[in-house]
Assembly symmetry: C2
Homo-oligomer: 385 residues x 2
């Protein structure tokens, strides 16, 4: 098995891209990543996407995007794992390079969501939940997260306001990310006054959909120096699953897939949570932020919001999160999000984050979650030494 | 890179399964394959599927099916490449085992299509074509194949009746396949009298949709003997792409993705078309049968139907095809088809095909095509020696 590194990154701003089709967005990110890596060819392309069939009336994205970026002929597939599709595509690229079958692999995550009405998008996102046992009861994705949040508050005696720091930090960090969907500062007071959506979840607990694409170029670490002096090594790559339905889980507040995948990634990298310098977590809702920190070993069960309250998740804290805005501030184009997380982690490890740059970031962890926790894909990235 | 073998196979009959959901079909195939390989665990699961989001209102099939078959927790993703999704999932499994990351990988192809009306299915299948430049003009998948067939007949002076042997052989071979959708003998005379659908394509040129699932268990060849004395080695595995739109191709009668993927598979296996003992080709329409034979090196351009006319594609011919019925006779549950082809090739190489058993089958080739040729996934399987 070969060691794998990231030698190129690209991303589009997350926005309502009325002037760009799905393939244009993907091409913008892929061509930027290829330019960054200074490569003109690739052996394989993996496309992370969840909803192109439902929203854009287009499947078969592998061949479509390979052709459109000038790589007609190469092997290319679409990878789907709900909101974890993006990191799943990177994971497949990692495996292909590690295997020795391919020397240059591109993984792109793309999602175009704002062409359709909210109803269709809400229905589309519900495809990540159990279509036989959850959705027919009217459970939207938002509702599932509201159930989780209510249970968490009850179980651990947490107030809604305690979740506010997750959103405040995300919006703060997004201010300096030109690709973020939002550049709107948020205060705890404004968090408390946000409109409810599905009690206890309010507008400010929720990340926003959007259109966007992000891409990485992968190659064997042994070749990486030939491309760039700024390569970033994949020290850990892992994925795990859980049941789709909340009601099938012994303890719904315990994200087992996240636990498994984090443990596997730590084991592969030979490090633990204390060695991680920043964490690009999956804060689709503030409750997922808390649960992810706990399942990944950064906080005890029920203590995730405390970590946030203490300031540990700020850029100068013990475990900075969402350093470029996270899902809440940067936006959450579902199938693309996992690749955005990895692109931003590479930016941190290369020292390209401007005012948000962490000092001495050596290991960054990214974690992309599908559904209410049924898929988790974790990567640990290591700065070139 | 490790050598990879198939140590277990499973399949459901292809039918209108009103009594089984998507997950039940997939589980039937996966559990049969696991039983066949005598394994109780797996490291990864790849699900080939095209239309679960559009037809069954369910995405996130990786985690869903892993959980339902008793493998909750393992890494699992859905792979999509239009009608080539099934073989693409096997290809991902091949890469994962070859890489050394996983010792037991299951690939399952599943599609449930008959729950919905024909309009929705026709619309769903059109997602494999170019959604910006083909579909808006009213081009269904059938229409695209009709254009190809008409062009082929014009270019090479072929009559519609010349395509009949592809369908006759497929239906003949399906008679002895208990899992085939059709057990209806077909004659050339009946082929000529079939109802037109999209001129020149008639009902008897077209394969049928259906519900079904097929699965394989993969492991390193070095471990294969521990599972079964009937393992089958993957001597070649490859994928290639082309543009989605017919109008973007210099010569639409030349399937470039098929050419590339066949050549890559031959090269890997160290053999050529003359060494292939049977060919499970992608006869979604009779025109695709002819074009596949030509692009894979079994016939000169324009001579595919001649090969059929001469009897070369029969079970006792030079290059038997669709030995268990092919897409036309067995049925074509799109995302599952590629795995059915591989399962049937394993049956042939194991000597389990009953009246359809070939004598001395050493190498079998399977080829799964997405769209009108934009994705091709080719495998060359080799009998244990």
């Amino acid at each position: 098995m070969r060691d794998v590194s990231i030698v190129g990154i690209g991303q589009t701003p997350i926005s309502e891209h009325w002037d760009k089709s799905l393939r244009h967005l993907a091409a913008d990110a892929v061509l930027a990543a290829m330019g960054d890596a200074r490569v003109e060819r690739a052996d394989m392309l993996y496309v992370g996407n969840m909803l192109s069939g439902e929203i854009t009336n287009q499947e078969h994205l592998g061949a479509l995007i390979a052709d459109f970026v000038g790589l007609r002929g190469i092997e290319a597939f679409k990878i789907e794992a709900a909101c974890a599709s993006g990191a799943a595509a990177v994971r497949m690229g990692y495996i292909a390079v590690a295997s020795g079958l391919a020397d240059i692999v591109i993984a792109v995550g793309v999602e175009k969501m704002t062409d359709e009405t909210g109803d269709l998008v809400t229905g589309g996102l519900a495809l990540a939940a159990d279509g036989d046992y959850e959705v027919p009861h009217g459970l939207s994705f938002l509702a599932i997260n509201a159930l989780l949040m209510r249970r968490y508050m009850y179980e651990y005696g947490i107030e809604h306001g305690d979740f506010g720091n997750f959103a405040v930090v995300a919006h703060q960090n997004a201010l300096n990310n030109p690709n973020a969907r939002f550049h709107i500062p948020l205060t705890l007071d404004r968090f408390d006054r946000a409109s409810p959506i599905a009690d206890p979840i309010t507008m400010m607990d929720s990340s926003s959909i959007g259109d966007g694409a992000a891409a990485v170029v992968l190659c064997p670490t042994s070749h990486a120096r030939a491309f760039t002096s700024q390569s970033v090594r994949i020290a850990g790559s892992s994925a795990a699953t859980d049941c789709l339905s909340l009601h099938d889980r012994k303890d719904p507040l315990r994200l087992r897939a996240v636990e498994y995948s984090a443990q596997k990634a730590y084991r592969q990298a030979g490090i633990g949570p204390d060695d991680i310098d920043f964490f690009e977590y999956h804060d689709a809702f503030t409750i997922m932020a808390a649960l992810s920190l706990e399942a990944s070993g950064f906080a005890e069960p029920g203590k995730g919001t405390l970590l946030a309250k203490e300031g540990a998740i700020a850029l100068d804290g013990r475990i900075p999160v969402a350093t470029m805005g996270g899902l809440k501030g940067r936006g959450h184009p579902v199938g693309a999000t996992g690749v955005y997380q990895i692109v931003e982690a590479v930016q941190q490890l290369r020292g390209q984050c401007g005012p948000n740059q962490l000092s001495e970031a050596r290991y960054g962890m990214t974690q992309n979650i599908g559904g209410s926790g049924a898929t988790a894909v974790t990567h640990i990235l290591q700065a070139w030494e």
